[in-house]
Amino acid sequence: MSASAIRDEQGFTVAQHLICLRGIVWREALRFVHQRERFISALVRPLVWLFIFAAGFRQILGVSIIPPYDTYVLYEVYVTPGLMAMIQLFNGMQSSLSMVYDREMGNMRMLLVSPFPRWYLLIGKLLASTAVSVLQVYAYLVVAWLWGITPPPWGYLAVLPALVLSGMMLGALGMLLSSAIRQLENFAGVMNFVIFPMFFASSALYPLWLVQQSSPVVYTICRLNPFTYAIELIRFALYLEINWTALAVVASMTVLFTAGAILAYDPARGLIARRGAGGA
């Protein structure tokens, strides 16, 4: 090779990797700030559930003492971790949709022509969307606190790693779906086929023992739903406990979905390579 070919073969430094990562997270945060209606709807959605749905259900559903709670809890206390996870579920799917949209608009293309390794770029993108979802969850927790839902003070800190992990899992799932399934390019499709089934067939709205009593089949589905484990991880962490099963499931699903998403965006084997870039 000629001299010109050798000159630029040096890899990037660690500092440059961090600049790149910071840039990706910073852009996602800027977009979120600029799209004010997205933030408001992200906050309003769980609050509607909390204020209206939980108020109605409170009279119907009695929640017995189950871990991690050490006393009877009001329904809105029970449902709060589910709603926190719902925020992340919506955010994960929304950012996956924005990837599809980005890909068509070309923003995703700009990300992928960066000389950094593609897995690094995709994980950066995942971290960025997770960071945004964590901000949304804390905004929700502030309002919930005003509503009288007061987990232990340290719980707010203990829940952070749980939220990062569950945010990564749901973001990676969204990323995998965005690369794999073209039909999901409108939000109604994602609502019907991903968000609703995952949300309702989980421990978000009712404890699983209650589900088991009414339908063993639905109970089994709930047990197989990774979203259930995200909720339980968050629920236990918020009350300063670790649900090891949930941790194991969420951690391994995060690895699995992330690997799947990286594979799907791999230039050699990926799904986009097989079906073309979209557009001309």
Partner: protein, 264 residues
């Protein structure tokens, strides 16, 4: 079909002979649809090379392969001697890209768009700001730095995209139909600017277009039609070998001939 013979358009003196961009025997299909068949071409350092083709010729697929959205199924792409498939980092660092689709983030300001791109190339802090400012001044967009990209006209967006593509000082630039949808004045301004980059900084350019009036006699040209390279070389040579008087005649003769052969 044997490999299309590519006459290497000669590089200007003073640069080594490694092609800025070399595409060797690239074929690509989407399912059963063949988008590119045995495509070879070379862009010499410091030259303006026009990739001429109608819509559906395979230009966008070729750009996807050059920018490694996905790997080539057959053949290879080298940027200044770096194979894109095996050394993507080294190749992509040397490459500046302007896609056909608009790729500015419309919710972000012009400056934020540039800083984001700089970060994607590992350039941050004051250096990123300095380069972005300089790049905007160069395309006379410095006064719009704080505006959101949404407020820009099509021509202004393109100018910003070109400024952005140059932030990491690439030595090769590929532009996919950069003048599509622009008015005559914007088209001329952008074309003039990119030609200046070639002349003054020795950037090698691959400029995809279907507009024949964007070709100049001193350019190199590659004619792509239905996924195949029909002719390549210095513009006068392409015109002469097609037996035509000008590029328009040459293009018609080449593509019309191919269309006629297909019809048989």
């Amino acid at each position: 079909m044997s490999a299309t013979i590519v006459q290497a358009a000669s590089a200007p003196s003073g640069l080594d002979a490694t092609p800025a961009l070399a595409v060797h025997g690239v074929s690509h299909s989407y399912g059963s649809r063949k988008a590119l068949v045995d495509v070879s071409l070379a862009v010499q350092q410091g030259r303006f090379t026009v990739l001429l083709g109608l819509n559906g010729a395979g230009k966008t697929t070729l750009f996807s392969l050059i920018t490694r959205l996905y790997d080539t199924q057959r053949g290879s792409v080298d940027v200044l001697g770096h194979p894109v498939a095996r050394q993507p980092g080294a190749a992509l660092r040397l490459l500046g890209v302007v896609f056909q689709a608009r790729t500015l983030d419309l919710d972000l300001s012009v400056m934020e768009n540039l800083l984001y791109h700089a970060a994607l190339h590992g350039i941050g802090g004051r250096e990123a700001r300095r380069r972005s400012q300089a790049a905007l001044e160069e395309v006379e967009m410095a006064d719009r730095a704080r505006d959101t990209a949404r407020k820009l006209s099509g021509g202004q967006m393109r100018r910003v995209e070109i400024a952005r593509a140059l932030l990491h000082r690439p030595r090769v630039m590929v532009l996919d139909e950069p003048t599509v949808g622009l008015d005559v004045a914007s088209r001329a301004a952008i074309l003039r600017h990119v030609r200046t980059l070639v002349r003054e900084r020795g950037v090698a350019v691959l400029w995809a277009t279907h507009l024949l009036d964007e070709v100049q006699p001193e350019d190199a040209a590659v004619v792509l039609h239905l996924g195949r390279v029909l002719a390549a070389g210095d513009v006068p040579d392409v015109i002469r070998s097609a037996g035509a008087a000008d590029m328009r005649g040459a293009f018609t003769a080449l593509t019309g001939g191919a269309a006629a052969r297909e019809a048989e």
